[in-house]
Amino acid sequence: MPKSNAARKVYDVCVIGSGAGGGTAAKVLTEGGLSVVMLEAGPRLKPETDYKEHIWPYELAHRGADVGGKGRGQFNDEFLAPNGFWEIDGEPYTTAPGSNFNWFRSRIEGGRTNHWGRIALRFGPADFKARSTDGMGDDWPITYEELAPYYDKIESYIGVFGSKENIPNSPDGMFLPPPRPRCTETIIKKACDSLNITCIPSRLAILTKPLNGRPACHYCAQCGRGCMTASNFSSSQVMIPVAQGTGRFTMIANAMAREIVLGKDGKAEAVSYIDKATRQEERVYAKAFVVAASACESARLLLNSRSSSFPDGLANSSGVVGGYLTDSVGSSVTGYFPQLENFPAHNHDGVGGAHMYMPWWRFGKKNEFLRGYHIEFGGGRDMPGVGGFDGVCAEQEGYGVSLKQKCRSSYGAFIGLAGRGEMIPNEKSYCEIDPNVVDRWGIPVLRFHWQWGENEMKMAEDMQETFRSIIEAGGGRIHSTRRRGAPKSEISVGGEIIHELGTVRMGDNPKTSALNRNCQAHDVKNLFVADAAPFVSNPDKNPTLTIMALAWRTSEYLLDRAKRGEI
């Protein structure tokens, strides 16, 4: 039973979700003097015991394949930092007939910042002006220039390496020096130079110099396992401890938010959540709410918060919540580079990600499709892992010393190229509440509708051609394409790139957007969204850095309102 008003603890702000957006909000709000309570649907993180950094595969009985081989060849193998899942027991989602969608979710303090690729790219000025540029999609209610100071703040605080390049629509940032290229990167860079494709140092949230009490990277390439020295960025190690240090921060872990409760005054007053340990429903009260549960989970929470004032979900008088769902366009090709055969043994590890990448190099030119893509690539003499020899085994076949030697000579000679392109929102791609399915906590689940548009298909074709020409120019041969699931074409499955966003979008018009230019709900003034749900477009730059810059800006706005006594 809800406690009486007198006994209630009312926090200044309740933040739902502890990832990139929630962590940033918690840091900025607590440092600004507000008390913050955070709900996280997973447990607290204990890097000392949870991380498998520097463990060899043979130190684990399953060698990284996990129980029953379920992690074999998967992104979320046994080594990955804890609790990032494609499927969660008891927490399903559904897809509409004819739709295919993958939804990667993390249930752990820090959310998906424990698992991300640390790629930290600024959106460019044109990315905020999609409709003005080519007539498709919509413009953001804010400009690059308005967000730029927050990019500066977030980069300076978390540490991002890169290089000043002055590339159109791929703005430079506040960069630490980039690491030296690996052999594979030297080969691809030369191939790109010969094709006039721009290939420059990557921009990753990994420290190449000590920063704010965190030591520099020690080049073990294992960022995805979680970093014991916190030399890469995760919210769990870089944001939340700082919030905690203010003494104004409370974390409620294993708390699955079910509904945001509207008060009589038309403002949100509480979050009802399920305590996963006791299976009891609890309430936490606050003066303001920052929803940062990840784009689709945030949309789900709002859609499930129905009341007489908001029969279609909280802050959803516009009806746009769940709509405008996009993911990055993905496509990939692997090349085999004979010059890397029998390459001298050397340390190829580097940071946990590519040291170089190709930003969109045809910006402003006449292309077969609108918008653009960037190229990521990897391979070479990585730590051997389960599933890593399936390709050579299938090609070589047989058995014995000749097979063994072939595995050795081809080890490290593969380079995979992957494109990440911009999807234009379409009306056939959205999420909604499934009327028939609830999860184990009794909370109605999401149902996904998905369809790539023609522009995305053309872009994926262009990626395939480009990757093939890069491989050939680099002296390699096409080995295979790599895909998850079984799509008909060379394009990724929706959600597979884990850049899903846009589901609670911002805009100046309350009829066509749920949030205003400060990511504050048009309908409910003490409700904010601080993940990738507010994004109006999904440029080819990975969303995390922009989530944090925008969350920082939103939090400063909230602080300012609170100081004026408006929250």
């Binding site: 950094e53 130190e59 030296r180 030297t186 009490g213 080049y219 700082v242 340390n347 051997p384 490290g412």
Partner: protein, 198 residues
């Protein structure tokens, strides 16, 4: 005797408690982490001998061992799949996965049946020449194109080959055989060494 072994948990716990002074960030100093990982490695390498299969019966497990070693044998450069622990690894995964149980457990029985049809003996009892003869049939996809009765055998062998490669190349000797260098703590990343052609 007092158990002197220190668990990974305890080491890292004690480390993390001592280092938060002066920083609210959850950071474990490099040297301490390196020391801890060294201890853990030496602890883990002290592994017990005498493996008892969890899924395969003694006959099937012996057959599995022989097949693994035939797929990736010891040679002048390194030990083979058995020394690398591939059969233990495969048995563990199979004990947990019904699909693997069908493909590998069933596959081994298919192999014995095929050998009995041809040579009136199970695979283990066949002569080395006979063993080579049957493996040469199921080790190549194209043989099933001309003889459909080999289809299941070819599938089984391809599946086992992948998992044998997993077991060998993720072992200490397999990783050394490949020449992987890394998983270390560097203060600076040297980049690509000077090599002709790159």
């Amino acid at each position: 005797m007092v158990d002197m072994k220190i668990s990974r948990r305890n080491i890292l716990k004690s480390l993390s408690m001592g280092v938060t002074v002066g920083s609210v960030l959850r950071v474990i100093p490099l040297e301490a982490a390196e020391f801890a990982h060294g201890l853990i490695a030496s602890e883990k390498s002290d592994k017990a001998t005498g493996y008892v299969p969890k899924f395969f019966d003694p006959h099937a497990y012996k057959t599995l061992q022989l097949l693994c070693e035939t797929i990736l044998p010891a040679d002048a450069d390194s030990g083979g799949a058995v020394e690398a622990g591939a059969p233990e690894f495969i048995d563990l995964l199979t004990s947990e996965n019904p699909t693997y149980q069908l493909r590998l457990g069933g596959g081994l029985m298919w192999l014995d049946s095929a050998c009995t049809d041809r040579y009136e003996k199970a695979y283990l009892e066949c002569t080395p020449h006979q063993q080579k003869e049957i493996l040469d049939l199921i080790a190549y996809r194209k043989n099933a194109d001309s003889d459909a009765s080999l289809e299941q055998g070819v599938d089984f062998f391809a599946f086992l080959r992948n998992f044998t490669a997993d077991g060998f190349f993720t072992s200490q000797i397999g990783i050394k055989y490949l020449g992987y260098v890394g998983n270390s703590f560097l203060t600076d990343f040297p980049g690509c060494p000077p090599v002709a052609g790159v």
